[in-house]
Amino acid sequence: MRTFREFLNRLQFFRRRAQFDREMHEEVQFHIESRAAELEDQGVSKDEALRRARAEFGSVRLAREDSREAWQFQGLEHLLMDLRVGLRVLWRSPGFSILAILCLTLGIGANAAVFSWVEGILFRPYPAVAHQERLMALSGISRGETGITLLSWPDYLDLQRNSRLFDTFFVSKITGTTLSIGERAERTLGSIVSANYFDAIGVHPILGRGFLPGEDVGSRSHPVTVISYQLWQGRFKGDPEVIGKTQRLNGVTHTIVGVAPQGFYGTFVGWAMQFWVPASMEEIFESGGYKLEDRNARWIESYARLKAGVTAQQAQQEISAVAGRLEHDYPLTNRGRSVRLWPLWETPFNNAGTLLPTLGIMLAVVVCVLLIACANVGNLLLVRSFARRHEMSVRAALGAGRGRLLKQLLTEGLLLSLLGACGGLLVAHWCHHALVLLFPARGGVSMYLPGDIDWRVLALTSAVCLVSTLVLGVVPAIQTSKLDLAAALKTEMGGVVGGHGKSWARSGLVVVQVCLSFVLLVGMGLVIKSLDKIRSASPGFTTHRVLTTSVDLVSAGYDIQQAKTFQNELMDRVLALPGVEAAAFARLTPLSFGSYSSSPIFVDAYNVPAEEAPTVEYDEVGPGYFATMGIPLVSGREFTRADDESAASVAIVNETMAAQFWKSSNPIGERVQVKGRWMTVVGVAKDSKYESMRELPRPFFYVPRRQNFAIPAILTIRTPLTPEKMASLLGREIHALDPNLALYEVITLQEQVDRSTSAQKAAVTLLGVLGALALLLAAIGLYGVMSYAVSQSTRELGLRLALGARATDILRLVMSRGLALTLGGVGLGAAASLGLTRWLGNYLYRVSPRDPLAFAAAFVVMLLAMVAACILPAWRATRTDPMRALREG
């Protein structure tokens, strides 16, 4: 308490320093004059009295200094002085300063940027949502299976009702839809939520209300919606009277009851939600009809918030117990099923799970880059500390304590990292939404991958800054602590290029840098090779000259019969267009982020108990699909128009399925049971990729659309025309059939494949940028060390030249020293890489983590960088003038 008051008093003094000097002067003056007056009264002459009074007082200046010191923060004054000196030192050698600060800016900036992404995406993904740290995601799991399922609505309600360790449960299921306001329709994303959603997450609409209890009950019973701030501003121009207005979602009119606050993007990592609807409206957005009372329909994505103080483990135990009771009460639907809680950053049903490994790798990489940057600056400081030996010796000789000198050096380190951190935060700020740039937007839906710089990022940056300060300050301090001028001079006399002397610290740092950048280069090589493999791998269908698009009939309110008629008429018109070689409808096209239908499969020759029947995914495709997509048929025939409702049910299986279910025998003519219907296999298609370019061959089959009709359909067209040209042709045909319909974007299949590999591409781009950065920094480090070595060995070089060494000998001498350092680093780096690259496992496609080509490429690049870094110092060494070198020593 007392010290705090003192602190406040001192602070006050700090504010009125000038006044203090004046007052002190007046006070002393008064004192001396009073004393003089007294002496005068005793009969001393006026002048003599004043003289004596002054003499008695002693040094006025000393009294003033001492008095002022009483008020000052001594540490602070010293710090200010150190800062001033530090700034002067930096100012005096701008080349060094700029280089050092630039290195730190890049190192710290890369870290701050990745921190902000990690935090914004994994740890606090939902701006404005209350108590995210206690939120967990819920998913279903099945015993003996690795994948997850979603939850059914009745199970969710039971979990909520029977759990005691949770504050709240809520549902937020992403859904894509067609939003029509007035005449204009567009594709957009929203969430189907439980009625308590906005209360549960603590987000309050800025206009209107959230949902009312009971609005998530019933079938199509509450067509209300809350819209995002973005949508309100964009489509409604911020209309204050928007509450009560309507918009059509998938063709159904919804009344707007609320507007969400700015900066709230919903609860789905990766995308910005534009609207929210209560679960009672799910039929409008989800296939499969009314599901709120169906325990077998597992479709909801839900979250729960733990009560304060409850651990994830306790919560999981309670949830498992409740799920166990459900399994007991509802064996028909819940046998073998349980429920699992996930931390937000592992949420299995949004992009958190996909981004987790990417961000993990990036974090490791940026730490590497920071280490390299620090090593670089440390090296620069070391070199400079030699140059400053004289200054330090003089200061030590004048009585500066070792602690005081250390403080000075630390202050200089702090200054450097502080400037670096400022630059770094700027860099991070610019990279704010850079992640979004790496993932292409799809069809006008906006991505949201936040990277906000809040106090946590600042705290982490400060921590990084502090650590680097210690590193940067201590390195030269070690040198200084061994302050021994004579010995230091002797070191300098020894040839640095020749490899004697105490250059181990600098060389060590360079070896570490080379090692780290080699690891990054190998990683980069592996990911690039893998991406190349993915690119060149055949997806099993033609990607060029095939276009894909769709028309949203569900939103337009078409029933099944209308949809069939429309699609038939459109197909006729498309096939008649000039330039169209083939065309077909399919419910889904490969790698399009949709989910295929699936069913347990029974075949005559493959007898298994009913509950163990393997589930296989399939696609519903129209006549000519295989010809359009360029998927070759191994045997049998393609679907035709004759395979319609009235004809016998047929199917086409892929090679893997044929091999798995019918072993060696030919499946053509065999029967397969799908969802209780027997179908005859009429063809075998080559395997292709279905969901991901990296997937392994798996069983898959096709059924005719006409026999398994669903309204949503993707149109595929084989044509040499460009997507733009085709879009305008198609637009005209569709308009002719129904002027109210709109066409989605027309893209090539290649574009679709590219979009599906965007995560790999993002990883490659980021690793590429950071790897190049690391290489540059390492090269600068090598260059610095070699230049310094050469400049310090002019005498040795001069001597060698005088004794008849040729320029090539000198060149070889210097280059071999650089080569030795590089090889040392590469050796260490290769050893480290062998252990580390397996962490890339998930990103590699048909590339071994120990791929020799990647290692060789990294080695060559490293060697080239080495040559580039050493050539200038080496050339300078050959230009040493022997006479001058010997004379000056």
Partner: protein
């Protein structure tokens, strides 16, 4: 004027200043004079060390300073005990008494 040789015990300067202010605010010169006269010229504070000491007491919050006019109508800086300063004075006086008594005891008995 010859300097008195009596040296102040370390730490007693604060005590003397506080004590001399116990009866009311004084300016710096008056403090020096009061200590000198009260000690029958036995103690004299070096003028040079008075002001740093006063400032240290201000920092601690035991004194407050304000400008006023002296007896001869000149502008002067007056120091006044704060409540905490008064407490401190009592505490230090008690300690000092104890110390002196102890020393006296030793001097008499040994």
């Amino acid at each position: 004027m010859a300097k008195n040789d009596t040296q102040l015990l370390p730490g007693t300067l604060f005590l003397l200043i506080l004590k001399s202010l116990a009866r009311g605010p004084l300016h710096g010169y008056a403090i020096a004079k009061r200590i000198k006269s009260a000690s029958d010229d036995g103690l004299e504070i070096e003028d040079g060390s008075l002001y740093p000491a006063l400032n240290r007491l201000l920092v601690k919050g035991w004194l407050r300073a304000e400008w006023g006019t002296s007896e001869n109508n000149r502008k002067a800086r007056f120091y006044r005990l704060t409540a905490e300063g008064r407490k401190q004075l009592h505490a230090e006086a008690r300690d000092f008494d104890k110390l002196v008594k102890s020393i006296q005891l030793v001097m008499r008995t040994v």
